[in-house]
Symmetry: C2
Subunit: 114 residues, 2 copies
C-alpha cells in the first residue's frame, strides 16, 4: 500500500509506467534511453516499481524485459479509494450543505494569522 503510493508519487516512475503501458517488454537500456538520467538512476526507479509490484520483469538472456502490472492499482481503487468513492456523494452533499447553508456557519470564517 505504502509502496504503491510511494512508487506512484514520482513523475519519472509514472512516465516509466506510461511507456510500459504503451509498449511492454522494454529493456532497462531501452527505458533509460529517453530518460534524463543515468541508466543506474532508471534502474533504481524500476526497482522501486518492482518492489511495489507495479512492474514485472522477465529475463530473456542478458535482456531484462519489463511489463506493467496493473493489479496493485486495482487494489488501491478497491481497498482505499473505493470507500471514499462510496462516501463521495454524501461528502459532497455535506460539503455543499456546510458551504451553502449559513445557518451553521455563523461562527466560521474568522480571519486569522496570515
Amino acid at each position: 500500500m505504502t509502496d504503491v503510493f510511494h512508487a506512484l508519487a514520482d513523475p519519472t516512475r509514472r512516465a516509466l509506467l506510461d511507456r510500459l503501458f504503451l509498449k511492454g517488454g522494454l529493456t532497462l537500456s531501452e527505458l533509460a534511453e529517453g530518460a534524463p538520467m543515468t541508466r543506474q538512476g532508471v534502474a533504481k526507479h524500476i526497482a522501486i516499481l518492482e518492489a511495489a509490484n507495479l512492474v514485472t520483469a522477465e529475463w530473456e538472456g542478458r535482456n531484462k524485459r519489463h511489463f506493467l502490472n496493473p493489479v496493485p492499482l486495482t487494489g488501491i481503487v478497491h481497498r482505499w479509494v473505493g470507500k471514499f468513492e462510496d462516501a463521495r456523494l454524501d461528502a459532497l452533499a455535506e460539503f455543499k450543505t456546510r458551504l451553502e447553508d449559513p445557518t451553521d456557519m455563523d461562527k466560521k470564517d474568522t480571519k486569522r494569522n496570515g
Copy 2:
C-alpha cells in the same frame, strides 16, 4: 497528481484521512491526541494533505476544523488508474498468454546473476 500520491504514501497521513473519513471537523489538537508524534509533526502532515487538496480546513474562532476532501482521489481513479483499469483485462490476458504459452518463451528464464 504527484502531490496526491505523495500525500497518500505515508501511513500517518492515511490514518489522518481515515479519522477524518469517520468523523469530519476534527481540530489539529484532536487529531494530534492519538498520534505518536508532536502536534507540530501532525501539523506538518496535515499541511501536506491540504497542499494535495485531500483535506480542507475551516476556521472556527481559534479552532481549525478539518474535513476530508475525496475529490482528488476521484481524479486519480479517472485520470490515472482508469486507463490501466481499462487495459487490465487485456493486460491480464496478455500476461496469461505469455506465462502459459511456451511458444514464445523458449529463450526466456535463463538464470542470471543472483
